[in-house]
């Protein structure tokens, strides 16, 4: 002890938290070592400064409120503990993805089934498939139907009553109606395509 410095023991020496024997040894060393004595002085000063630091007390009644608040939080956490289930966490992303996909699929099929207007292509398809027998109800429809078809199909001299999806669209329904009503029955895309063809001069009603 006499030959080596005791810096690391000084905080405990100053605060008198060393056991008696060690405290005595350090004390003897300080008597003989000016460097450690000076260091012990500095350590003592620091502790005197720190002792003046009084932490503000917490608000009155704080400690009597700790437990009820913890209880409340613990109960809340327990209620929602299932959200922390590792299986749920592990599969949350795939489940969410499946849910989104199913929702989107439903949305698409819903849109399709609820669509009031068949598409321009659908008209063409139906015209191709249903070319049996009966004449068109009027020239306008015939002209429209014919113009909606590829040229080679038109060449087949389509005749007959064309019914597309029965409940949603029927060329029969259009018999004797104005062009305005015909346009009202078309979707935006169909109208757009129709306008384009009108502009191009490839269709005239």
């Amino acid at each position: 002890m006499q030959t080596q410095h005791v810096h690391n023991l000084l905080p405990d020496f100053v605060n008198k938290t060393l056991d008696n024997a060690l405290h005595h040894e350090v004390s003897e060393h300080l008597d003989a070592c000016p460097e450690c004595r000076a260091e012990a002085e500095r350590v003592g000063e620091v502790f005197r400064s720190i002792q003046s630091l009084q932490f503000e007390q917490p608000p009155v009644g704080y400690f009597s409120n700790v437990l009820p608040r913890i209880r409340e939080r613990a109960e809340h956490d327990e209620r929602f503990a299932w959200l922390k289930n590792p299986l749920l966490v592990k599969f949350a992303a795939p489940l969410a993805a499946v849910f989104v996909l199913v929702s989107l699929a439903n949305l698409v099929s819903f849109d399709q089934s609820s669509e009031e207007y068949i598409t321009y292509d659908d008209v063409a398809d139906v015209l191709v498939r249903q070319t049996e027998g009966q004449p068109f109800a009027n020239d306008q429809v015939e002209l429209f139907a014919a113009s909606a078809l590829p040229e080679e199909t038109v060449e087949h001299q389509i005749t007959g009553l064309l019914v597309a999806n029965g409940d949603t669209f029927s060329f029969d329904d259009l018999a004797g109606t104005s062009t305005d009503l015909l346009l009202e029955n078309l979707s935006e895309q169909e109208v757009e395509a129709l306008l384009q063809r009108l502009e191009e001069g490839s269709l005239s009603l």
Partner: protein, 186 residues
Amino acid sequence: MSPSSDVELIQRFQQGEEAAFNELVRRYQEKVYWLARRFVNDHDNADDIVQDVFIKAYDALKNFRNESGFYTWIYRITVNASLNAVRRERVRNFFRIDEQFEYEDTGTESPTEKVELQEQRALIEKAIETLPEKQKAVFILRYYDELPYEEIANILKTSVGGLKANYFHAVQKIGEYLKRANATRP
């Protein structure tokens, strides 16, 4: 009737007796609060830590095997939570443009004394705040909580060997900080 030991309370809690947990909270809430408070220097932050520590304890106690003792364990959780709070605060301070000091009315000092006391307190808090994490933890646990080095080693999961040096260096750095700060004060 003698009070139940921590081990007994934990066993009772693990067997479903919720009141045993309440007793543990009542027993340790002040120690946890003051330990946290010395790290974060702020009541609200310390309160957040107290809440987090006991909620964590509530969840983890169901599987607690009492290998290190509840006291050491709860101290360890508190030290870690406090150090995390200090880190978060450092990040916040980094982005803070200006800092406001609120002077609290302690009721007995003159306005000048109040300001001086407040300044001195802020200075010491700052000096402790600037310590490296381990030195800070050792300083708080040794000086304020007066824990034996063996206990501190258990809490910090380190060997006893370097703790006395950590403590001394912490005191030395606080002293150097105060000296520099006082030298530049008007």
